[in-house]
Subunit: 426 residues, 2 copies
């Protein structure tokens, strides 16, 4: 869906291919089950939110090696001709079990399982982690920001600072999952069916001979959609100028949409703007804030009595500045009916395929990870299609309601209890 | 070159397009000059390294709106038909001046200038920042890691944790610029003409009935390229097993390449491995380390006497974990022959087009930013083609030699002096 031009199969680490050749040459055709888990929560995070499945679906669907890919692999002199012929016809014949998107989860829990011939399941490792890792980071962070904003709408403004274009779409989709209202990223808006949104840049004001003229030109075209950026020079003067222009348009029956504060003392300036707009009969003007916002600042701006009708969140969200990576891993749980695990210090894993159970309904009480039990009400479900975004949004909403308040805190959340039961030595 | 499928023009923030429509409707056709700068250095960084120009070149070359793009924009009900017709034929008719890739630079300095009709120069803002921002982060960080590794080769292993596929290629190219030896990312290796590299995963060991058998199977196929991963169970046992297998192959005239340590006590384990290999007549075996390495750990591992012949660096590099974003901005410096700047608190800019001068040759002594001076030896040069990677690599090497030691320190570097001369009020 949002892939780089060409086939995606070379988006992998070389070792996946060199290991695959050994499996092929040695005829190791047994079934393998790989399990994806995240080892630790970032500081101040109480939960993760599952995401990335539509992109995974598209990746599996399009996975193949082109003739050019094969020619490149031949040129590395690492691969035998018969293996390359086999790769040319290769399709990832795997089954996937996964937590549905929008499900909250915790460290150590199985969140996705890929089963099938070891050659196929191994080859998918690198890009499955690439897709899921950042999608989960962004869905979790988008949800944290919703919790911090306490009902004030959020707008996704991070494209320019995202680490890449696909990263920016992953971020926008995560925002959409968590119920953000819009994105400034036009490409993402089109891909996702999300409303595009934006105001104006400082350069727009600077390109006019006066701020007032700039506001007037913009308002004349965008009318009830016009949001005026007021901090290019002096913010208080900017607010007053915006109010004058809004009054002019109101006389002609046009209600401008509002203003944006992008720097300075956001709490004081927003309160000044709210009071000033009331005095001028402009109560309808909305006040948007932006400028290096994260979930902590959003929480604190509101707690300090700031007057905001929306937050535009850019850099901190787009790269997950406080937690730009997570310890997501893809580990072999079972091969050829033999449970498998590693015992490296600090990186040990539990053997065998697994089931994830959650106790509690209106409020989640406890999770239990146990050996695979087909008769149990397992949170991992076969991945058989892509869900509509509305289904995922509704799931996020319900899950967040059911998550204990103490686990939802954006600072120093409580640990949610997860038990590992029925494993040798656990 | 590494773009998403389809045309890149919609990879922008909505406001670039809404502002463009005002410029179009009002006939604002004056020339604009936008300037890219980075406001601040991340903590512990002493310098930036310029990067991203080939991707920028490709973006400008391919920039156009497809019929589908235009149809989408029409559906937003924000744009008039005549403006959309104009966009359909739009090409970014701009001139670019830039620091050559690999040039070191400092906060506040002009690093790229885009000149042309304001409609065109404004439209490019968002994606120019997206390209340059992460490319500069990665080139700077790759260079810091080279400084930390003091001659020990570096391998780029970060694809699985990168925030997106294009981000992973930007990272690999930055590593290539700074002289890293190889990347595990097969797609990036092919795009960049960089050697692909890799070892084996823990799952490979686990899929065999014994570690020794796994090593033997792998060594039989990859011989002098085989690197054995020794920490799946007990690292010391792993080292001894690797040595046994290496001895067997040596008897048959095959020298395996080495081992990889991915967890545990890297200094102690590497010293044990070096001693053990010497005792066994296996001095040729190289010792590679990986596992959550950053420039600080690399420096400290070497300072503590670790025995390493290469470092595989993944997550910390791929997302620039300590500095996942930088304060890169694209600001209007001049419009229609009128110098322009903003005066927002903490975000003020200096007016007018600029020249960047550097004093000192064998050792850089001081930079000076002054109003545009066509007769000066300006570090900003017209962007007219893409340089060969070897030219860029050589520039990085020379620049790093000329940079004062105190500015190159990876912890608490000194500030490099930059003067702003000839601006009103500066």
């Amino acid at each position: 869906m949002w892939l780089i031009e060409g086939t995606p199969a070379l988006f992998t680490d070389l070792y996946e291919l060199t290991m695959a050749q050994v499996y092929y040459r040695k005829g190791m055709a047994g079934s393998a089950y790989f399990e994806v888990t995240v080892r630790h929560l970032p500081q101040n995070w109480g939960f993760f939110v599952m995401a990335g499945l539509p992109e995974l679906w598209s990746y599996l669907d399009r996975f193949r090696f082109s003739d050019d890919d094969i020619a490149y692999l031949r040129s590395t002199e690492l691969f035998e001709p018969d293996f390359l012929v086999n790769l040319r016809d290769f399709r990832p014949d795997v089954t996937v079990r996964a937590l549905p998107e929008g499900t909250v989860f915790f460290p150590g829990e199985p969140i996705l399982e890929v089963g099938g011939p070891i050659l196929a399941t191994q080859l998918l490792e690198s890009y499955v982690l690439n897709i899921l890792g950042f999608s989960i980071i962004e869905a979790s962070l988008a949800t944290r920001m919703v919790l911090a904003a306490g009902g004030v709408p959020l707008l996704e403004f991070g494209m320019r600072r995202a680490q890449g274009p696909v990263a920016s779409i992953r971020a926008a989709r995560a925002a959409q999952m968590a119920g953000w209202k819009a994105t400034s990223n036009v490409f993402a808006a089109r891909c996702l069916g999300m409303p595009p949104s934006g105001t104006m840049a400082h350069s727009f004001i600077q390109a006019h001979t006066s701020q007032e003229q700039a506001f007037r030109e913009f308002a004349a075209i965008y009318r009830d959609k016009a949001i005026l950026l007021v901090d290019t020079y002096d913010t208080i003067e900017g607010v007053k100028t915006a109010a004058r222009v809004a009054c002019e348009f109101l006389e002609r029956g046009v209600r401008l949409r509002g203003i944006r504060l992008d720097s300075g003392h956001l709490v004081a300036d927003s309160r000044f703007a709210r009071d000033h707009f009331r005095q001028q009969g402009l109560d309808f003007l909305r006040i948007f804030a932006s400028g290096d916002l994260d979930e902590f600042k959003i929480h604190d701006l509101l707690a300090a009595g700031g007057q905001f009708d929306g937050f535009g969140v850019g850099t901190h969200f787009a790269v997950s500045r406080h937690a730009p990576s997570i310890s997501i891993v893809y580990k072999l749980a079972q091969y050829d009916d033999r449970p498998s695990h590693k015992t490296s210090p600090d990186k040990a894993t539990l053997p065998g395929r697994k089931t994830l159970l959650r106790t509690g309904s209106s409020q989640f009480a406890k999770d239990t990870v146990c050996p695979l039990d087909p008769s149990a009400h397992d949170l991992l479900r076969p991945l058989q299609s892509v869900e509509p975004i509305e289904t995922v949004q509704e799931r996020v909403r319900r899950q967040i309601v059911a998550l204990p308040e103490s686990v939802k805190a954006i600072r120093k959340p409580a640990s949610y209890p997860v038990e590992f039961v029925g494993f040798p030595g656990a």
